[in-house]
């Protein structure tokens, strides 16, 4: 057992941190160090390095407060596609763009009941939940068929049958995909494959949330060390210091739980991760709420880091299920 980051994880962490200091579109910048292909299946030109590497990327994105949902959405979509044995040569151009960071993939209808519907002629109608903003090159959509069954479909968005609307999602930039008779190819995704893909997606999301929590706790820590109240720094009040010490220590424990889950998935020893996302979501929310409280009114200013993190963490903490639902799911998995 070795609970230190391994050399690959350390190099990856440092590389992502360096990339995030560059100007330019972060997703394309990440492509310059090969990140989009890191965990992608080999049949899609990926390196299949596994979640143990991927979570380091997502933690650092979270720490940089660059949620970059298109990165995780692409990984989720390719994981789902990898379960189908259909030929994918016709997707070569799109996949090349995904790997270059020029476009990204999305998954529609993963959380909650499917709302889009597929007509008997194979045409998809409806609209997506809020999705990451960017150029969508490929869509894996869960939709209701004419016979009432729900299934997965592959859509390559085309002008005329698909439109993308930029939206504001709780103050965060997002997009909504509208299907107006888009050609939808049915996919065969077994229950086991869906569970594996969802488990991996939740691990990536948990890593992002723990990274975001680390960042906002660092921001809070810096603030309470410099903000003077009643003649002494806020941090000298035990109620302040202990709250932060508790959250920062808890983060170490949750990170170890996250890494262990990723390691087990990589070895094919685990398929349920609802509880890992639940603790990460709850921790990140508590971190953002505590940071805001410790900043006082200035934390409420619209463009403060605390307010931005509060919004971003809220959105990301429910993207793949609410903590309450995740705990109930974890209960049924035990």
């Amino acid at each position: 057992m070795d609970l230190r980051l391994d050399p690959l994880q350390e190099r990856l962490r440092d590389a992502v941190d360096a990339v995030l200091t560059r100007t330019g579109e972060p997703y394309a910048q990440l492509a310059t160090i090969g990140v989009p292909t890191l965990n992608a299946p080999e049949r899609f030109g990926g390196l299949a390095l596994g979640l143990s590497a991927d979570i380091v990327v997502n933690e650092r994105l979270g720490y940089g407060l660059e949620p970059l949902g298109c990165y995780r959405a692409t990984a989720f979509a390719l994981d789902l596609l990898d379960g189908d044995d259909m030929p994918t040569e016709h997707l070569a151009e799109v996949v090349a763009d995904l790997n270059k960071g020029a476009r990204h993939a999305v998954v529609v209808g993963a959380p909650g009941p499917a709302s889009a519907r597929v007509a008997s002629d194979g045409r998809l109608w409806g609209e997506s939940e809020p999705l990451p903003r960017g150029d969508i090159g490929l869509c894996v959509a869960r939709a209701v068929r004419d016979d009432g069954t729900v299934g997965w479909h592959l859509v390559v968005p085309e002008t005329g049958t698909c439109s993308v609307e930029s939206i504001d999602h709780f103050g965060m930039p997002a997009s909504r995909l509208r299907f107006d008779g888009a050609a939808a190819r049915p996919l065969t995704v077994s229950t086991a494959h869906w569970e594996r893909a969802l488990a991996a997606a939740r691990i990536r999301q948990a890593a992002l949330l723990l990274g975001m929590a680390d960042r906002i706790l660092d921001v809070a820590r810096a603030h309470v060390n410099t903000r003077i109240q009643s003649g002494k720094p806020l941090v000298r009040h035990q109620t302040v210091a202990h709250r932060l010490a508790t959250l920062m220590g808890e983060a170490v424990g949750w990170r170890l739980v996250l890494h262990k889950a990723a390691w087990e998935i990589d070895r094919g020893e685990r398929c349920s991760t609802a509880e890992v996302l639940a603790v990460a979501a709850e921790h990140a929310r508590l971190a953002s709420r505590t940071a805001l409280q410790l900043h006082g009114v200035r934390g409420m200013l619209a463009h403060s880091t605390t307010a931005t993190a509060y919004r971003a963490i809220a959105v990301e903490s429910v993207r793949l299920g609410t903590p309450a639902d995740l705990w109930l799911e974890a209960a049924s998995a035990t």
Binding site: M1, D2, L3, R4, L5, D6, Q9, S52, R221, V224, N225, V235, Q238, A241, H242, L244, A245, T246, M248, G249, E250, V252, G253, W254, L256, V257, H259, K260, W263, E264, E275, V276, A278, V279, A324, W327, L328, A330, A331, S332, A333, T334
Partner: protein
Amino acid sequence: MDFDVPPETVEFAAEVDEVLRAPQTARLLRDVRERHDGMDGDVRELYRHLGGAGILAPSWPVEYGGRNADFTATVALLEKLVAYGIPQNLYCISVQNVGSLILAAGSERQRRTLLPAMATTDVTACILFTEPEHGSDLAGITTTAVRDGTGWVINGRKTYNLKSAYADLALCAVRTDPQGSRYEGISLFLVPLDAPGVVVRPLPSLADEQFHDIWFTDVHVDEDALFGRVGAGWSLITQMFAAERTGLDYYARGKHWLDVAAERLTRDGPPTGLVGADLARHRTRIAASKLLSCQVMQHLQEGDADIAESSFAKWHCSETAQRIAWWAFDTLGLELLEPGPDAGDRVLEAAFREAPGMTISGGASEVMLDIASSAHVFDHGRTGD
């Protein structure tokens, strides 16, 4: 990161299982539970049986009675001792805490004479730091040791210590320089508890294991009872706390209590709804406790001990175990308070009584968070100023 347990640990765990399943172990454990001594129940004969099998100090070097195993063997051992219902406090205090400090900081003579005997529990040790007016504030201790012609004379009182009635030796913190600073005037001694002038009185506790009051009245000890240098006590205590506060024993108890509660709750099928969610929540949290404890032990093994990391692990493990004990009562209700013959009921009833003390003993939670804050939240902690 790598979460694999080495094959040597898997083999060791199987060996521990075999020893703990042996009829002799069961018989000796029954004797302890009978409490013939009217106190905690003397666990030493049982320990000597386990120590004779060579399983109690796996991480120590072979020449001192150990097996040179890595920290995962100690984790496996504690999990199994607790799961089999072996009272582990005397073991943890004597072998894991005092023994490990002797291994790390004792003289070669102390290591060679004491450690093999401690590994077999032919010799047991307790810790006497706390005094009536100085619990968490250890730098305020007033028990003194004064040089006389052939050694030292100790006077004072220690209290609220566990297992003193069953210990041959006590690692005792005393003030050797009343004029020195609160920290520099402290020294450690290994005091034989059968020395003339030592009086040990039990103090009944809410939990199963009693505390003790210990008086030292003109207790003479030889020069070689001194542990470390004169005046080096505070740094040795800090070193021991970094090693003692792995949280491992708290984690092991919490895990066992959760396993027992889960077994009770799943008798009629897997719990669902809120109870099932709570169970999943506690399972996830105790998994974090274990990993935090393992992280501390790995760093200790690598000679990279960190008192703040240890303190937080102790906080996490003890708070988690405490929450589990209280949740078991909240969930199972009155039947837990009036245990019948069911062994699981008795475990959870005892856990409920033990729970409040978990965040007090071995370092109060507030002190653990003070240490963690100082290292990780205050600016000076990060810059090292």
